[in-house]
Amino acid sequence: MQISSFMHRLFARTLRHRMVQLGAVLFGAVLLMAAADDSGTRFNKIGHAMMCACGCGQILLECNHVGCPDSDRMIGELRTQVASGGDDTSIFNWFAAKYGPTILAAPIRGGFDTVAWITPVAVFLLATIGTAFLVRTWVRRRRNTVTTPEGIPVQLPENDAMRERIRRETEY
């Protein structure tokens, strides 16, 4: 029993050491490889956040239909705007003012548009918390009273062998 406990402690300590070492390696790797270069990506990023104005329903930089009356001009305007040094928001505002708000590929105008982003996250959080609470309530209630299908209270099978058997028999 003592040997088992000692082994358990030893294993836990070794595991902790390994985790710390792993964390250090990860941190080092991140530092070593952190060499940011975003000069060529901004045009691409903004161009993928806007729609083509021709009504084809495609992202501006992905609009590929022959003789599109808008995409070439818009891409040119985007190059000019990026080159002029304005920030992303001012570029988006410029395009939204010229072509209307539907030119933005996602609702990013602030105000009610923010609801579009918050709602799924809120639903996710509420549902997760709600489910976790529900599960906890069920588990607690189950621990307090356990009944047979006929409604007769029974004691929980504390015996490990019994639990193992139940697990085995209900597993697939």
Binding site: P107, D113, A116
Partner: protein, 683 residues
Amino acid sequence: MPHPMPTFGSFSLLLALVLAVYSLAMGGASLWQMATGRAGRIAPERLSETARRAGIMTFAAVSCAAFALVWAAFTNDYSVAYILHHTNRDLHPAYKFSALWSGQEGSLLLWSWLLAAYGFVLRLRHKVDVRLTAHASTILSGVQVFFLLLLVFAAPPFSIQPGEIPPDGFGLNPLLQYPEMVIHPPMLYLGYVGFTVPFAFALGALIMRYPGEKWIHITRRWTMVTWLFLTVGIFLGAHWAYSVLGWGGYWGWDPVENASLMPWLTGTAFLHSVMMQEKRGMMKSWNVWLIFSTFMLTVLGTLLTRSGLVSSVHAFAQSSIGNWFYGFLVLVFCVCLFVFVRQRDHLKTENKLESIVSRESSFLFNNLILLVACFTVLWGTLFPVLSEYVQGSKATVGAPFYNRVALPIGLFLLFLTGVGPLLAWRSTTLRTIRRNFVLPSIATVATAIGLMFAHIRPWEDQSELYSLMAFSLGAGVITAILSEFLRGANVVRTQTGKNLFAASLQLIQRNTRRYGGYIVHFGVVVIIVGIAGGAFNQSTEQEVGFGDKINIGGYELRCQSYTQDSNANYDTEYALLDVYRHGNYVTQLAPEHRFYSASQTNSTIVANRSTLQHDLYVIYEGKNPETGKPIIKAFLNPLIAWIWIGVLIIILGTFVALAPAIKPALAASRVMHTEAVAVGSGD
């Protein structure tokens, strides 16, 4: 008779409607007599039988109508307005056949025909459970009546073209003239329509307070086959978009695509949580509402794309039939709610969760995530409408929104895909967790580190971060699946002395559901790996003359020539590009641009060289009018092929899960005992 075939088709539809109404009325009367115990002049069994036979004949009548439309397409009968607008004389016969689902009226006819076909099979197999099937059959007849009413009154496919009949048709939309379009819509519709069957069984079982969970056993194969059809349909659509639309992607988060994804998400949730009801008698209300929602989402999807509520680049023509779908959706919801409220005491759960760390709990969270994903897609699809209502101006909700909101949800789902099967039913001990989770965790972390050393920069770009997480979690899930397989196979090997491969096969045969499910999970991971490759796409666009070169990711494309050609159906311009990789000749690609004279529309034919590593995807964008030279756009899309391979793995896994297991005698007797307990305690 001036138009024999359209007249035959119209009368077939009318007859089908009469038969479906008769089946619904007689079926309803029979069930009412059985439920109330009141005897009418005709015994309920006889009423039920006549309703069943009318249902079978409905299939025959709708088949005649579908045949009439296809016949009209093949014989170029342009007196039928639908055929005039969707075919032309020089159209390939396969596409003439696919004209059946190329327009609104035809696709509604296809829907009705598939529903009748499902009903036909269900009614032939009524001896599985006569009373439950009678309930399901009556509900199917109700749905069938709705679609036939649409076809007869709102969107008749056999309308006669007024005035002089043109000598040739207006042609099929060029985008639909692609081999996959011959099978993609039927597959998708088989999935959509198929969910009516488990819906009908669930509603029927609730109405009659069906004892136990046998209805789940009866509908399990229906649900899985339907889910498979929907899965294959969705991915065939994605492959079609990739191959035909020519923008380098396969999923654009268009409302039509979203409409197919939503029932898939709830259907997947149902397939998982229904196991909890089957095994533990839990989540009964939840499951009932999941399948109700899945069915309603198939109707909602049709409503979204046909009512003009949201705009879609590949929606069918908007029309007034949206109002019919509004009405039907409200009716279905009211019926479901009414039945649920009346019979909710029948759905009382038999067991409670014993532990948060258990298979049941993981199923619950898996369901939660799938439903949140479904809500997100629905929210994004409807937000433009909401925005217009609140702000007075529409907002576009496109790929950037979904990529930011839906991808983290997808990654969490991937995590649960790995965790769930490693947990035991009822409760999982710490020892089991340690035993099952060590290897997958190591695989996850090691993959993440390895990828960062391979120059993936998650801190620089969000898409790279998601990719890194997808690859790492994918590695963890695959390790979990493999270790489960190996653990089981080793046990069988010890017991039987067979080699590992034979032991693995025997293991699968013993529990096809479990290991079929693992194979499906493996397929899902492979698909996610393929999708994650999208973060590293490259593209370039260039005007090329004879001998000009385009360089992209180690490839060199040399323009050999560019020319034009024509046939009866279309004129084409194309470029011949010799492809070299690291200086060695690989292949020749010929991207095309077509002009279809009948419909006066353009189409792009992509040239694609697909390998397991990446796709070299080339588009002929058109000619520069000033120089006369073609403009070529080339993409290098990594890992795309794995998406389609993943779908094949899912198909394989579903077939394995559908196959009957070879159970030891002890297990068989245990199943019988479980069913007996469930029947005894359920009512």
